[in-house]
Symmetry: C2
Subunit: 441 residues, 2 copies
């Protein structure tokens, strides 16, 4: 006999009066299941918690709240009629195939469509370089699983996308913060500050979350060269680049890196590129992609097979049809027009209502701007005062690696109407005034 009976605990209930439905059985543990499961939790779960944003989203589901908190695209712009038309085509042309089990890699036609969008003269992205995933978040999670060992040195912008931290923290890696300014991460500081064994650098070069900043072209070039020279890989998280309101697009790190290889050999090299349809079509379908060297894609597919077999087939077929019907290309300019207007309304309101010692970023696209309060004003305390006035935002501290940024917060400008944005910023400035008066007393 190898199994050993558990010792009776104070929580054991076997001396309770038996009922007809629960006949007593000697020695059975009863009623302490919660404690049993807590004991069984894996050590890595100590690194897991709900992110503040996702939880704040529940508060902001109340329609009275003016929310600058989430990263939600404007639902009033969702192309519902186009999606309805796409559904009819998918069901007519593919029927049961769209609802059956399908390939882990993603449906071939969608991989091809994405590969085509990323193929340039002299630099081919092939189907084998593309994996379909359930949103960019799954891309980050799967990359963490296939690339990170405990103790690895991983560099990230600071502040950075908080859900990257949620995805990679359980791998027990060491994060190295890279400071950034209005031009994105400070590439010239990397050589001096990164550990020699740095494995990867993760960044959102364009319209960064949370800051809204964009890595300049000169820094992009310097970064892809530096990464090759010093042997670390780059993970380019790029959900917002197509939401550009003004100015010329900057080249992707993916492209600048492959330009370093001779024509004919150009393919995804030292950059892993992560993209999603969440911000340019709809997020609820959960379709994103990874573009990378073939052996990275191969391992990622193995991990995905074990993780969820494949992403929703209907979603993939719908997205493919929306691309084929030209909806994606027609939709992006509409998003840019609306979001630009909302960004500008917010900018005007900030300039009008906020004291001049408050600073904010001036994003040329995307969904977010970042606000810096005078030192000593705590954005989390301000949030409490702001929620009383039914306005929500995300404290910047959540995005920093090491408890910095307590005087910063992130504002989303894509989700609320212009009127509500103006009103929300007005209320927020009131909240700030009240809060400052309180702390100066």
């Amino acid at each position: 006999m190898k199994l050993e009976k558990q010792k009776p605990t104070g929580l054991e209930m076997s001396d309770q009066t038996p009922t007809a439905h629960a006949p007593p059985r000697e020695g059975l543990l009863r009623g302490d299941h919660s404690a049993s499961w807590t004991r069984r939790l894996a050590a890595r779960t100590s690194h897991m918690k709900r992110t503040a944003i996702r939880e704040l989203l529940k508060v902001t589901a109340d329609p009275r709240i003016i929310s600058f908190a989430g990263g939600l695209p404007a639902p009033d712009l969702f192309p519902l009629d186009d999606i309805e038309a796409a559904f009819d085509v998918v069901l007519r042309d593919h029927g049961a195939r769209a609802l059956q089990y399908s390939e882990t890699e993603g449906i071939p036609e969608l991989r091809d469509a994405i590969a085509a969008r990323f193929t340039r003269p002299g630099s081919r992205v092939a189907r084998e370089n593309v994996a379909i995933v359930s949103g960019a978040q799954q891309a980050l999670d799967l990359l963490g699983r296939i690339l990170l060992d405990p103790g690895d040195s991983i560099a990230v912008e600071n502040p950075t996308y908080m859900a990257l931290l949620s995805a990679w923290r359980p791998q027990e890696i060491i994060f190295h913060p890279v400071p950034s300014d209005e031009q994105g991460i400070q590439v010239d500081q990397l050589e001096a500050t990164l550990p020699a064994q740095t494995k990867l650098l993760y960044l959102t070069p364009t319209f960064q979350n949370p800051q809204g900043t964009t890595l300049s072209k000169a820094r992009r070039l310097a970064l892809v060269e530096l990464a090759r020279r010093f042997g670390f890989g780059l993970v380019e998280d790029d959900p917002y680049a197509e939401l550009r309101f003004e100015g010329d697009p900057l080249p992707r790190l993916l492209d600048l890196d492959s330009d370093l290889d001779p024509i004919g050999q150009r393919a995804p090299g030292n950059v892993i590129h992560v993209g999603t349809f969440s911000k340019v079509l709809v997020p609820g379908l959960r379709v994103g992609w990874v573009i990378a060297a073939e052996n990275v894609i191969e391992k990622l597919i193995q991990a995905k097979q074990a993780a969820d077999l494949h992403s929703c087939g209907l979603s993939q077929h719908l997205i493919l049809q929306l691309i084929h019907a030209g909806v994606l290309d027609r939709h992006i300019p509409k998003l840019c027009q609306t979001y630009r207007e909302r960004r500008d309304v917010m900018l005007t309101a900030l300039a009008r209502h906020f004291p001049e010692e408050v600073r904010w970023t001036r994003p040329a696209g995307g969904l977010f701007r970042f606000v810096t309060l005078p030192m000593g004003i705590d954005a989390t305390s301000l949030l409490a005062a702001s929620l009383e006035r039914q306005v929500a935002f995300v404290p910047g501290e959540e995005f920093y690696l090491r408890g910095q940024g307590r005087n910063t917060f992130r504002l989303n400008f894509s989700n609320a109407s212009p009127e509500r944005i103006a009103e929300g910023i007005r209320r927020l400035s009131e909240a700030l005034e009240t809060h400052r008066a309180q702390i100066s007393r």
Copy 2:
């Protein structure tokens, strides 16, 4: 300066003739990206591989192949008209909400609908006990992430669902095989064979994959009691139970376990129950669920938030509408009728064509039966002979923990038409005959 330049390697290409598109830059590593990424792969990736079934699915996509290989439901039975009608209702009633970001836990109405289906007199499953996941596979993956530490002792049926092994192997646990017979796992052997520190036992008690066998009621009762007495948890993977062709349903482990608690305290206790709509509606929407104690669900949600934010919102709304419209309850009897017919056609063909020393299981439901050849006949070699006759199946070895079962294979009977099933078994018997003649020479 902390970073160190990589030493030039034989693969470095900086002495190549530069082109206008690829200006030469000294010291850049070129062309060896594949090797760089391979060096960066995490140690756990050595436990990852593509499963034979998923790869075999690609071969069997050829319509000329009669496939008994996959676990695919019959696409001709997919309720396409009902899904079309459900889509119209979802878009009309929820519109953008079904396509926006949503809660990680799953949409509340679907959690409630599942909770209601599992609530019995005196034993309540609450919304907080239910998490929506992207198919049962994601349930297994997330459970592995929150419950398994390296070195943990985990008991599984042997043979078992092979994708459970894919999901949990990278956690570097120790699997302990539990032998099974026609009545399911041999519960009376557990005490003597399981290590004292066993944390979990994973099983598919009803119409098991791959064997098609069902754990008897007496063994179910003994198992839930034993698990409580010896302090290990049970993971009940239950995708097939509603596909019962004959006989009375057996109580779930989830229910038998909660019956051990006094009325009023009954809720998911020592059993984690995993379910899916893949086999009873359609698999491509990727909607499954986990029912468990509240603190298990809480941790699972934290892990899921980092893994993919949430499952496809449109899929969840479609499934919910199919439940509300009564489609699910009307559809299951149709599936049972068709699959019973296919099972019986296969049984008749096996009895007619196969030599009497071959044995097979007699499932009362589900999708699979298991065949045992005389010792010394290798099913993998038989597969090669069989594929020449355009018939596919999965060698049983894939489902065993330790290289056993080389003389076994799994047959799916849900996917092919009765005519093709009969023809496929006939060809398979020819393949067997030829193969035996070859090895006896």
